[in-house]
């Protein structure tokens, strides 16, 4: 893997997950009690022995940079290679203009150009999985492909993977057409938006797009020219979720309460790394009643918690009831308050006796630092 560099491309659309992305990109949304979404993409790279990773951000990157630091948590604080965060040179976002990711690639093309690796793997950040790229890269070499893209044969597309790209694949595993999952059929080949290719091809695509102005998005440049390249699909058969809406975020989180899935996601091809917080173990008092929940360190439970995900440093006070909810870092549910089908962003306080109930399929999201 010495000859591969990783590129994590944060150009995901945020239209359907606005409530959690006011201050952060999707990549920096807290998930699973102690992680951020990008931890999966980053850990997959590191576990596949890729040691040069560039993260191309779009906007609102403060929270992300705070999380990444020097890359130490992922063992990416290196003298040679390591972690590179490449922010947009000009922030179109504040002007309300979407410019796509090609522009950012172009502005930082020297980073890619000067990296010593001869191949790249370009991924998005919002695919939740534990995947071994080594096997995919081996397949790519064997097939002598121009581009190899990872996909999963999913059979629940009516409900999940909304608006993800789908592939039509021929007998030789070559991609013949690209579509979008609108939920009409259950079975689809879902694109994981992980592209393996030579660096020269990557550079060529970026240069061509930016000089001709054909496409704003890297992904489109490949998908709209599928006939021009030899694009192969590599099937991944492990757990996969795509976080691109509040519903998918909520659903994915709740899926992690299934220990079989959880074990696979957090251990299968390597561990998932994240920023260390030095929190003490979770404290349960004599009043605690907890079932079917994930709880991170540093939290204190004095009330009832059911079917929920409790992040680091959360307080559930005496008499409080938390059901089917996600409580992010340092949020507090005070005495005798009740939350159900709710996502509390970081540092939210639900004061005594308050009740908040969302719908089973549509949770209420409470903004960061709100006091209710």
């Amino acid at each position: 893997m010495k000859d591969y560099m990783g590129i994590i491309n944060l150009s995901e659309r945020e239209d359907n997950i606005k409530e959690l992305t006011y201050n952060r990109p999707i990549a920096a949304i807290p998930i699973a009690g102690r992680y951020r979404i990008i931890d999966f993409a980053l850990s997959n790279m590191v576990n596949s022995e890729i040691s040069n990773v560039g993260i191309f951000t779009q906007n609102k990157y403060r929270a992300l940079i705070d999380h990444l630091g020097t890359g130490k948590a992922w063992d990416l604080d290196r003298k040679n290679d390591g972690l590179f965060v490449l922010n947009p040179v000009f922030n179109y976002y504040t002007l309300g203009i979407y410019r796509g990711d090609i522009e950012n690639f172009k502005n930082h093309i020297d980073y890619v150009h000067l990296s010593k690796q001869k191949n790249v793997i370009v991924t998005s950040s919002n695919m939740i999985c534990n995947v071994d790229y080594k096997a995919a890269i081996h397949y790519h070499t064997e097939k002598n492909a121009d581009i190899t893209v990872l996909y999963k044969k999913a059979n629940d597309c009516a409900e999940n993977f909304q608006y993800c790209n789908t592939y039509i694949i021929d007998n030789d595993n070559k991609i013949s057409a690209v579509d979008i999952n609108t939920g009409k059929t259950d079975e689809n080949n879902i694109s994981m938006e992980m592209f393996i290719m030579s660096k020269s091809l990557f550079l060529d695509i970026v240069h061509t797009c930016s000089s001709k102005g054909d496409y704003d998005y890297f992904k489109d440049a490949i998908h709209k020219n599928i006939g021009k390249f030899k694009v192969y699909g590599y099937e991944y058969d492990g757990y996969l979720a795509c976080i691109n809406s509040i519903q998918s975020y909520f659903k994915t989180s709740m899926q992690l309460l299934d220990m079989k899935l959880s074990r696979e996601l957090f251990f299968k091809n390597g561990l998932i790394y994240t920023k260390v917080k030095d929190e003490a173990p979770t404290k349960y008092t004599e009043n605690a009643v907890v079932s079917n929940s994930l709880l991170a360190n540093g939290s204190m439970i004095d009330g009832t918690v059911e079917n929920s995900i409790i992040f680091r440093g959360v307080r559930v006070r005496k008499g409080a009831v938390v059901k089917n909810s996600i409580l992010m870092q340092n949020s507090i549910v005070e005495e005798d308050a009740l939350v159900r089908n709710v996502i509390l962003d970081k540092n939210v306080v639900i004061t005594q006796n308050k009740q908040l109930k969302g719908d089973d399929n549509y949770p209420i999201v409470i903004e960061k630092k709100a006091i209710i």
Partner: protein, 384 residues
């Protein structure tokens, strides 16, 4: 030479033989504590939080785990360009070499290390106590009193004074006598094994002590009494708060149980004085549908389907269905299968308890111990 105002020296060579099975492969300071930590995390975090950026850790007995755990000191913010943490095992020089003979000899053998930083003051700590303490306040006290040596003391119950080194003090806090494990104590101020010395003074006493063939080269037995004899100014620094020597299986168990008390003085959740450690890479713990956890501390990566009451679970512990843990400390990565009952016990790291076992007894005075990496076969009944 890199001038430092003060540096810390942590004595971490102790075997901790009274911890029996738990210290077969590791030194006492590396023994797990509190659902996440190792004992040495406490003095190291105290140093870091007190603003000490140069710490020597003196190792001797079974140092492998301890050395790899401390590494370059990053978890405690002690990976520094100037100073930082340095592991100090015994070494050879042109005259040969020898093991650390006693606490004072261990420091004596590292005079070069201390001289290199040329500090005004040296803080000497033991690597096997559990407490949170701001050493910078103790240093201020030391300076204000114009002392040559300051010893931190804590009030212990009078009936236990015969277990400690007792400091007899004058009204101004100066020490006039040191009583090692006295039968009839005159004071209940016990030494915590935390010393601040003026380096020049200590250096002189260490060199003299080394020449005394009859000396045991120990701070408590030799250096402190010698200092008192020569009449230099020694002060007792009164410390209030939680402090515990976890030298035995019972006291280690007790210290873990102390964390579960609602009025527990050792607050691990205080963000202004965090205890740092090497964090395991594990997802949050999972509490299953059938689980019941009360009055307990649970580490990350645990999966609990059974009943856990008044217990401490370190990271990566599995508790099966219909299994019941009461008053028990379970160290990292232990698997406890279904239908097991464990009461009043310490279960060593990486061990496996097969179904149907009954271990320990909550009405007994003794704490039952299962050693590291042990496998307890099905339906075994075992208690201490």
């Amino acid at each position: 030479m890199q001038k430092k105002e003060w540096i810390g020296m942590i004595l971490a060579g102790g075997q901790g033989s009274r911890l029996t099975l738990l210290t077969k492969k590791i030194a006492k300071p590396a023994v797990p504590f509190g659902g996440k930590y190792r004992i040495i995390d406490f003095p190291l975090s105290n140093c870091s939080n007190s603003g000490i950026d140069t710490v020597g850790v003196l190792t001797q007995y079974q140092p492998l785990i301890l050395n790899s755990y401390i590494g370059i000191g990053s978890p405690w913010d002690l990976d520094r360009k100037k100073g930082g943490v340095t592991l100090l095992p015994p070494y050879m020089n042109e005259q040969g070499g020898e093991w650390y003979k006693g606490t004072a000899n261990a420091i004596f053998q590292n005079i070069n290390f201390i001289d290199y930083y040329d500090p005004e003051y040296v803080l000497i700590l033991s690597g096997d106590h559990i407490y949170k303490m701001d050493y910078s306040q103790m240093l201020n006290f030391h300076k204000k009193k114009g002392a040559e040596a300051t010893i931190a003391v804590i009030e212990v119950p009078w009936e236990e004074t015969n277990r400690f080194g007792i400091m007899n003090t004058n009204e101004d806090g100066s020490i006039y006598e040191f009583d090692e494990k006295p039968k009839n104590a005159k004071s209940n101020l016990a030494s915590m094994g935390v010393y601040i010395f003026n380096w020049k003074t200590l250096r002189k006493f260490l060199v003299e002590d080394e020449q005394d063939k009859n000396s045991q080269n120990d701070f408590g037995k030799n250096i402190i009494p010698n200092m008192l004899d020569t009449g230099i100014k020694l002060f007792a620094y009164p410390f209030k708060g939680y402090w515990k020597d976890v030298g035995t299986i019972e006291s280690l168990w007790e210290a873990n149980m102390d964390l579960l008390k609602p009025d527990n003085e050792l607050n691990l959740y205080d963000t202004s004085w965090r205890i740092y450690s090497v964090n395991p890479i594990r997802p949050p713990h999972f509490t299953g549908e059938s689980a019941s956890i009360k009055g307990s501390l649970i580490g990350e990566g645990c999966v609990v389907y059974g009943e856990v009451h008044n217990s401490v679970l370190f990271s990566g512990v599995y508790v099966g269905k219909n299994t019941k843990l009461v008053d028990t400390v379970v160290m990292p990565n232990v698997t406890i299968e279904d239908n097991v009952t464990i009461e009043r016990a310490i279960i060593g790291s990486d061990s496996l308890i097969k179904p149907g076992c009954v271990i320990g007894d909550k009405n007994s005075n003794a704490v039952t111990l299962i050693g590291e990496s042990d496998v307890v076969e099905e339906n075994t009944t075992y208690k201490e």
